[in-house]
C-alpha cells in the first residue's frame, strides 16, 4: 500500500524536466479538460440518481413490506360494529403486530391531495381504513382473508403487494440505470481521452523520434504523455464535480414536495461519493493514455 502511495505521490510530483520535453498541445489539452469536466458533471447527476433511487427503493420496500390496509365498506349503521369485529380478528391473527382504525383527520389527510382541505369526511360514505402493521415474520394473507370474509363481510384486505412490487422494481431499474450511466460515462471518458492522446502522440511523432534518438526509453516517453493527460483529466473532473455538486445543492430539497424528483440529491455521508469522481476519472485517463501511448510507440518502432 505504501509503495502504491509512493508511486502515486511520485507520479503527481512528476519531473519538471521530463514534463518539458513534450511540447504543450492546446487543442488536445482543452479537449481533455473539457470532456473530463463535462463527464464528471454528468457523473455527479448519475450518482445522485443512483443513490436517490436506491434510497427510494429501500424506503418503499421497507415501508410497504411491513404495513397493509384493511378497508371496510358497510352500511352506515354497521360500520362501527364491523370495524370492532375486524380489529378483534386482527388482534388474534398471528403475524400482526398492531392494528388501528384511522380517525377522520387521518382519512381527510389521505384524501386532501385529490379533494383539497376541509373535506367533510363525516358526511361522505367513505370506507373506514384500518392500518395493519406486521411482525417481521408477517401474517398469512390468504388465511386472514378467509376469516374476514366469514366474520367481517364488508372488509377488503390490501397487503400492498400488487402495487409494491412494480414500484420497487421500477426503483431498482432506475438505480441500475444510474450505475449503467456511470459505467458509460467512464467509457466515454476513456474513449475521448484515448482519441486526444492518440492525436497528441501523432502530432508529436517528430518529438518522439528525437527522444528515441537521444536514448529515451519508451516508458519515459509514454510517461510524459500519460502524466500530462492524467493531470488534465483530474483537473477537468475536479471542476466538473464541483459544478455538479453545486447544481445538486440548488435542486429543491426532498422535504419540500415530498415527491421523487425533489429527493434527487445526496444525503449525509453520500456527499463523499462525488469526491471519488476526479480520482476515478484520473485513473481512467491514466489507463487509457498509457494503453494509447504503448500502442502508438509500438507502431512507431
Amino acid at each position: 500500500m505504501t509503495a502504491i502511495l509512493d508511486m502515486v505521490r511520485s507520479f503527481l510530483a512528476g519531473d519538471a524536466q521530463a514534463d518539458r520535453v513534450v511540447p504543450p498541445t492546446g487543442f488536445t489539452a482543452w479537449l481533455t479538460v473539457f470532456s473530463a469536466g463535462a463527464m464528471a458533471f454528468l457523473a455527479v447527476f448519475a450518482l445522485a440518481l443512483s443513490l436517490a433511487t436506491s434510497r427510494l427503493a429501500d424506503r418503499w420496500g421497507d415501508a410497504l413490506a411491513r404495513s397493509s390496509t384493511l378497508r371496510i365498506s358497510a352500511p352506515e349503521g354497521q360500520m362501527l360494529a364491523q370495524t370492532d369485529a375486524a380489529l378483534q380478528v386482527l388482534s388474534t391473527t398471528p403475524g400482526v403486530a398492531s392494528a388501528r382504525a384511522l380517525d377522520a383527520s387521518e382519512q381527510r389527510a389521505l384524501l386532501e391531495p385529490w379533494f383539497g382541505p376541509d373535506l367533510p369526511v363525516e358526511s361522505l360514505p367513505i370506507p373506514q381504513l384500518i392500518e395493519v402493521i406486521e411482525t417481521a415474520d408477517g401474517y398469512d394473507a390468504a388465511g386472514l382473508r378467509l376469516r374476514l370474509a366469514a366474520e367481517v363481510p364488508g372488509a377488503v384486505l390490501d397487503d400492498h403487494t400488487r402495487w409494491r412490487r412494480p414500484l420497487v422494481h421500477a426503483a431498482s431499474r432506475l438505480r441500475l440505470l444510474g450505475w449503467m450511466s456511470l459505467v458509460l460515462i467512464g467509457g466515454t471518458v476513456a474513449a475521448m481521452i484515448t482519441l486526444a492522446a492518440n492525436a497528441a502522440l501523432s502530432a508529436n511523432a517528430q518529438v518522439i523520434g528525437v527522444l528515441r534518438l537521444v536514448g529515451a526509453r519508451d516508458v519515459y516517453i509514454a510517461q510524459a504523455f500519460v502524466r500530462r493527460f492524467t493531470l488534465r483529466a483530474l483537473a477537468g473532473a475536479g471542476a466538473g464535480m464541483v459544478v455538479g455538486c453545486l447544481a445538486i445543492l440548488l435542486l429543491p430539497g426532498a422535504d419540500v414536495g415530498g415527491g421523487f424528483l425533489t429527493g434527487l440529491g445526496f444525503q449525509g455521508w453520500h456527499w463523499f461519493w462525488p469526491l471519488l469522481i476526479p480520482p476515478l476519472t484520473a485513473l481512467v485517463a491514466f489507463l487509457a493514455t498509457r494503453a494509447a501511448a504503448q500502442r502508438t510507440l509500438k507502431d512507431m518502432s
Partner: protein
Amino acid sequence: MIELENVAYSYGGAELLSDISLKLQPGSFHFLTGPSGAGKTTLLKLCYGALIPTAGYARLFDRDVREFDRDDIAMARRRIGVVHQDCQFLNHLSVSDNIALPLTVSGRDTLDESANLHELTNWVGLTQRAGALPPELSGGERQRAALARAVIMSPDVVLADEPTGNVDWEMSQRLMRLLIELNRMGKTIMIATHDLALIRAAKTHVQARVLRISNRRLQLAGADL
C-alpha cells in the same frame, strides 16, 4: 563495439545494401562516402540500431540487435552519439536544453552536469546562443549544437550523417576539427559524407579509413582518398 557481418538491408523487397561487413574499433575514425541514395544513411542506421538487417548480423557492444528490445536500443543509443544532417531538435526547448536532452531522458540531473554542459556549449562556440530556440540558429550553429548533444553523454561512438551538408566550407572545417578532437579523446567516429574535398582535408589531420558504398556493397576507397 559496432560490428556488421554480411549484412543486407532491403526496402520493400528491393535490396539496398548487400553483404556489408564492417567493424568499428575503439578510437578509430571512418569516413563513409558514396553517391546520394547509395545507402549511407541506411548503413548508419544499422550501426545504431534504428534498422534491423534483413540478412546477416549487426552487433552493438557485442550483442546481436535482433535480441534487443526497445529498452536495450535506448540504452545502446546512450553510448552512441548521432548527428543528423537535419539535426532533429525539439523546437520548443532552448539550445541549452536540447544539448542537455540526453541527460534529461536518462534521468541524470542536469544541475549536477551543468558545468559539463557549459563547457560543452563553450567548446562548440554556442555560449552566447544557449538560450535561443533552434529555429533561430544558423545551419552551422545547429550542426554544432547537434554535435554537442551527441557527445554530452560521453558516448563511445559518434556517428554523423552529412554533418556538413548545410554549412559553408569554413564551418565544415570547424565541425571537422571538433570531430577530430573527439577522436583524439578516444571516441570512435564515423562520418557519412559525399564531400570528397572535406575527406581529403581531414585526412591531413587524422588517420582515417575511407569506405565507399558502391553497387550496394562496401569497399575500401582508393588511394585518391
